[in-house]
């Protein structure tokens, strides 16, 4: 005989103000199988949970229904309370009478009626619940960090310094990401390379870090603690073991005029190259697309000059299959191409450049060795116009969101310009100055007050060329007047957008992303570094535009999550898994294809004499995540999900 306890929570005013809980209690007391029904202001509180435990013991309950908030909120709380009172936690169900009931309805009688129905349906379900035991799975103590920008490097170092193995995968030939391209960094103006390089070297030399540059993650399977990851190591055509990084090949390569991506196309590089002088590892790659040998079948100059015979034109991509326990995604961002604003003339006038290009001009290791020179003719600009929000906060042409870092780096650019070009005049068009952060507002004030950048609140409507000048027409909204400035260079603070392949890569890894391609966190406020997929975490600008301090903090937070996970040898998994009825299975294997976790295998059913009777689907309990996809797919209705069996769901529906 079922002895169900029903606990109706007011959730303060949240439920209590809209639902007549006393009526709900008496309706439940009348429901067959219910031994006790009580209400309380906050069942999730300590005394509230005590009430539940006491009732379980006193009434010898066989099942518990807590009518309260969403199971995502407190299912774990109440299951734990049940377990403490000696009741199997899976005999506890949550009837959500808050989110889709008290919160959304205005009429008290109708809301109460609905709450009664919802609670009843869960009582009918819980009557059919079975005792379930958690499943234990081992944890592979090896983390994968994808992306070798500052966020990925920081996460890898923190995990490795805690003594755990890390595989750090970067798809470019060198570690570094965008930070390696920057000149000096706000708000302290320290040289980006100088603070970055030691980190890159430390990561490359760390005994616990396996660094795979020029490599890409192609497939991720499995689940928390037990991922299987396939990585492609692209062929560099240079043997990493043999190469000493002397750079002779780079000097001698006859191709010299290839547009340099690292310098944002402001400089040139050969076909065999390292992206920048401090590259880690300091081993070149051959750019197959531009290499004379790969194009014409003749050249191999690099091979001839290489003293250690490191160059191998026959090299093939290699594949690695790794067992991984946790994944940190730190794939960063790109800057938006601003060609959609025809009026700014980007792409049309050589001296209209992006902020990132300005970083390269200002960088001591950049194409101009740190001198601010305009790209068209190498002349030092006397006047520069900076245009903020060139793409951000523009729902019609650009992106809706604020890119967060552009106010700061534009102030930085104005400052660097003032320091490098005495007498140079910087004008900044802005919408708002968003400089929230430690030392940030002071920094922008300094740009205005000490370095005399002229800030104009308003938008630019047009940039055109006249008498060798770039004419910038905009409006100063504070004075309510149109302005026209004759500039030598225009710098656009372009929007920060996700990597071009971010959406596809989300599918490879098995995480979600927003409409732009920024990766989704499990909860924006309370679980900002976790994804909805257990064991996969997010660091840096791949989640949203971020500056270095934020990227690094998030990376360290990820590391602490990973280290926490690796502090255990076994993980307890919910026993909510699918089970197949082999006698009714028709062996179509639709379920096996549909299963997103590859948990379903073929199993032969043999007769006593060993003859094949039939082949059916077998669900591996270690791999199944209980998502239920196979259940809905199976045409013969052969699969059931523990904790959500067809009978339970049917009873629940019929209880309505």
């Amino acid at each position: 005989m079922a002895k169900i306890g029903v606990f109706i929570c007011h959730c303060g005013e949240n439920i209590g103000a809209k639902i007549d809980c006393t009526k709900l209690v008496s309706a439940m007391n009348d429901h067959p199988g219910v031994s006790v029904s009580v209400e309380y202001k906050y069942f999730c509180s300590d005394p509230g949970q005590e009430n539940v435990k006491k009732a379980i013991r006193e009434h010898n309950l066989t099942g518990v229904v807590v009518a309260a908030c969403s199971p995502r909120m407190h299912e774990a709380t109440f299951r734990k309370a049940c377990a403490e009172a000696g009741l199997n936690p899976y005999l506890c169900e949550i009837a959500n009478i808050r989110e889709q009931c008290s919160w959304v309805h205005t009429d008290q009688d109708m809301a109460t009626e609905k709450a009664i129905e919802i609670t009843r349906s869960l009582i009918e379900k819980v009557k059919l619940n079975n005792e379930l035991q958690p499943i234990e799975v081992p944890v592979t103590k090896r983390a994968l960090v994808i992306g070798g920008g500052i966020a990925g490097i920081q996460a890898a170092l923190d995990i490795a310094n805690a003594g755990q193995e890390v595989v750090l995968v970067e798809r470019e030939p060198s570690l570094g990401g965008h930070m390696a391209q920057l000149s000096e960094t706000f708000p302290t103006l320290d040289c980006s390379q100088c603070i970055m390089t030691p980190r890159m070297v430390e990561a490359a030399q760390h005994p616990k870090i396996r660094l795979l540059t020029y490599s890409e993650v192609e497939q991720v399977e499995g689940f928390i603690g037990n991922f299987k990851v396939r990585i492609r190591q692209k062929s560099r055509y240079v043997d990493m073991k043999a190469c000493t990084g002397c750079g002779d090949c780079i000097q001698k390569c006859p191709q010299k005029k290839i547009s340099d991506e690292f310098d944002c196309n402001l400089g040139k590089r050969p076909a065999i190259y390292t992206p920048f002088a401090q590259a880690v590892p300091n081993i070149p790659v051959i750019d197959k697309e531009h290499c004379t040998f790969f194009k014409n079948g003749k050249c191999k100059v690099c091979q001839k000059v290489c003293e250690t015979d490191a160059i191998n034109f026959e090299m093939q991509d290699e594949f690695l299959e790794l067992e991984i326990g946790a994944i940190v995604v730190a794939t960063g961002f790109q800057i938006q191409n601003t060609a959609m604003y025809g009026e700014y003339g980007y792409g049309k006038y050589a001296d209209v450049i992006t902020g990132l290009q300005f970083e390269r001009l200002a960088s001591a290791s950049g194409p101009t060795a740190g001198k601010i020179k305009r790209p068209s003719d190498g002349v030092e600009p006397e006047t520069i116009v900076f245009i903020q929000c060139a793409g951000s906060r523009d729902p019609s042409k650009g992106v809706k969101y604020c890119s967060k870092i552009c106010c700061m780096y534009t102030a930085k650019h104005a400052m660097l310009y003032a320091h490098k070009v005495h007498g140079g005049k910087a004008h900044v068009f802005y919408m708002d100055i968003r400089a929230a952060g430690k030392g940030y507002d002071e920094f922008t004030r300094r740009a205005i007050e000490e370095d005399e950048a002229s800030y104009l609140r308003g938008r630019v409507s047009k940039v055109w060329k006249e008498n060798g000048k770039l004419m910038v027409r905009g409006v100063d909204t504070l004075l309510g007047k149109p302005v026209e400035i004759a500039a030598d260079m225009v710098v656009l603070a372009t929007a920060i957008t996700p990597q071009p392949d971010a959406k596809e890569f989300a599918k490879v890894v098995g995480i979600g992303c927003d409409e732009y391609g920024f990766y989704n966190e499990a909860h924006l406020k309370l679980r900002p570094v976790e994804t909805a997929t257990a064991g996969i975490f997010l660091a840096g600008a791949c989640q949203s535009p971020k500056d270095i301090p934020d990227s690094v903090s998030q990376a360290s937070a990820c590391a602490s999550k990973v280290i926490g996970l690796f502090s255990r040898d076994q993980l307890e998994r919910e026993p909510v898994i699918a089970v197949n009825n082999e006698s009714t299975c028709s062996g179509c294997w639709g379920c096996a294809l549909a299963c997103p976790y590859n948990a379903i295998e073929k199993k032969d059913i043999l007769s006593r004499s060993g003859e094949l009777i039939k082949r059916v689907a077998f669900i591996n309990p270690g791999l199944c995540q209980g998502c239920g996809t196979c259940v809905t797919f199976c045409r013969s209705n052969s699969i059931d999900l523990a904790g959500f069996t067809e009978k339970q769901i049917f009873a629940e529906v019929m209880g309505l």
Binding site: W589, L612, F633, N637
Partner: protein, 276 residues
Amino acid sequence: MSIQEQYRKRAAELLASGEVKIIIGYGAGSTPDRRRALFIRSADDASLLHVDAACDANLSGYLVSEGLLSDRKKVGIFLRPEGIRSVNILAAESQLDPLQIVIIGFNVENGSLAALQGSGVNDFSSLISTLKESRSTPEEQALIEKIEGMTPEERFAFWQAEFSKCIKCYACRQVCPMCYCKRCIVDNNQPQWVHTSSHTLGNFEWNLVRAFHLSGRCVECGGCDRACPVNIPLRLINRRMAQEVLDAFDHFSGMSHTQEPVLASFKKDDPETFIL
């Protein structure tokens, strides 16, 4: 030699040489203008085979009869293009090994019989590709357009009237080569998801389940439509669902024996228009 004679001869040779252990074909039916399935194991019986425009049943469903293929021996079978497509699907769904099937293909176009060249499923791939481009008959198209022109209420009323006739005989399921499950979801009575009695709700449930389970799998052989004793226009449902999967996923059922089932597979560029 008539096509029928040629095919009788071919069947006799297949059996006599031992290449196939059995031939599944058509024999005389209950009236002179009907044909029914005929199973012959001896070359002498080849003269009982009929091949003509009246051979409309899709015989591929017999291939999955319990034990027929478990000895790994080959089976010869008379199939129209739809039947060849269903063999592909049965192979894709692991119900049979296509190497065991020797196809004796024929087609009926505008009431007249045509022979098809080939014997293995792959021999018919280009034929199947051309079928992908063809559309439904003008009468069917007119009816589909009429239904699509209706308001949701009118359409509901139309199908309610049609489904109310259903007597849950499951002839549509029995005849369909794709309905090979030993236990169908409607036979599950723990819990009883689909009402067995033939009242409107249960009839709706059954016909919706059937439509859904056959989406991307039905080859439009017309078997169910002919089998239905109360003349529910099942072909319209089949057609509509086939069009849906073709439009949304470029999926034409039975293109090859390695085609992934459309509703169980996931491709990165699948349209996600249904996600709000």
